[in-house]
Amino acid sequence: MAGNWLPAAQLTGSGRPVLQQGEVECSLLSSVDLFSEENPSFPHLKSGLVILTTHRLLWVQESTTSSPTAIFIPLSSITHIFSVKKSIKSMFASPRFRFQASLGEKGTKGMVMITLILRGKADIDSFLEKFWEAWRKRGWEDGVKYGSEASGSGLVSGHGSGGDGVLGVRMPVVGVAGILRKEQEMWENTDKSLQEAFQDLNALMSKAKEMVMLAEKMRAKLLSGSTSQATGTNDEEIGTKEEMQELLLSVGIVSPVTKESAGALYHQQLSRQLADFAKIPLERAGGMINLIDIYCLFNRARGTELISPDDLLRACSLWEKFDVPVMLRKFDSGVMVIQSKSHSDNEVFTRIRSMVTTPDALRAGITASDAAMSLGIAPAMAKEHLLAAEGKGLLCRDVSPEGFRFFVNLLQEVDADDIFLLIAAELKIMESIIHGSKLSLLPGEIEEA
């Protein structure tokens, strides 16, 4: 759609941008037009969602029907940002601002003046400020450095990595990595001369050199600390520390949606992010996961940017409106779970049915923990499934001092439904089993009978 001017941005299944290594979202705006006044061949992009990250300016088509498409402008290609002109005219027109970027394929590269029109009720000044900040901070350079250091795969080439392997001042990493960084910050604050650098990001930039040195010092201190301790008695602690650090870093959401960055779009974006996030835990949990579990996992991954249970619930209930592969489900008991849309109850019921019609289960029934083990899910979830199956008339319960067990429902009348035909067939087996087992269980009664 954007021709050869703008590269397409990758989106996740729920319509969230796929971020690069170390990329963090800064601000979101809805209903934004993007076009070029001077260049007619530049596509006119109407009413989309603009996402400003530390690396890119993304424009996502806001359409509910088809799968959204998106393009991006790397911040590195921006050569100038013009400030908003205050005039009488601008009082009445939608707020707009312009920036200059060098876009296009190699060879056809050219300067393009791009205009952004904000049609929504957005605060243009604060957005522009964030835009400026992100552009000036040159977060993408750190990203490249970080990326090439970590995996050896450069993301966007063409920028000299001046660090030469030196771990420079990283861009603010949020998520769990943020916690680690905060700890560092605390140490750093002891140095009073650098305190102001942390309070003012502009000052930070100017003192970058000092910061690099400090960070280097910190790292060296950390390393020496761990080696000196490793030679000591508690190397086990070090092992767990490193393991912990690795673990924490691996689960972190690098760019959590926050109220600050997303504003009015907060719940909507949170909802999409959650949908993306839930995929892996869902798969692991067999297609259904407790809301409480996902709350813990999600917040752990978000690190410092915690969300409230209410936000989670609102994010989940927004899924109905989006085309996402997950859904919120409420059981009769009130337990709420997240399940993938591909997950179906019938499949679970079939498995439960085969479980309760084994000879052992026909005689002794099954418990929630039995079901949990064979379904590979949490006992609480298994119980919900069993109760649902009971509600369908597939099972019936046995409450005794020994506990709560479920049996295949033989009380139901034989129905046209194939389930019950099967049960009727099982009834005959059951009779023989009961009498067989009775003989083995109660040898004293053989004579009586």
Binding site: C396, D398, R405, F407, L410, L411
Partner: protein, 179 residues
Amino acid sequence: MQKMGEFNLPNFFNYPPYFTLQPVRETREKQIQLWKELIIDFCRTQKIFVIGLEEDFPLFSNPAIERSLSHEARMAFLSALVYDGRAEWMDKGHRKCLVLWHRIQDWADLIVNFVKEYGLEDSVMTVEEIRSGTESRGTELQGMDRTVLMRALKLLEHKGKLAIFKGSSADDEGVKFSL
């Protein structure tokens, strides 16, 4: 098949969920139906008229599978019988239940048949004689619950088919048939 005296117990008697009151409506309805049939059958063959909810009743527990009915379940099954007109509560606290495997009207008919069969249309009998006299031996009236019998006799009296009067002894009443 498991037996309790001369009574053949159904297969369900060894099925543990049979002893737990099922929470799902359709399942419970079927369960209650099965229990009603069992209770009526059992009482008829064993000539049991009164079931005490708090007393041991052979049907209400199955030691073979170590299951017994909870008070709530007993209440549910007996209440269902009461609802069908096949049982009556004998006290306000619902602790004793009178099981009517024949309805009062059916008992009355049985008495009329018995009277006709033995040619007692115009004779006088005591209430006790109807229950345990030589004439009623071998009929369904033998060993009949006094309460049920009195109810049936009152019904017939109401229809003018007999008259009940105080007998010579204080604890017995006489019946004058006039069919």
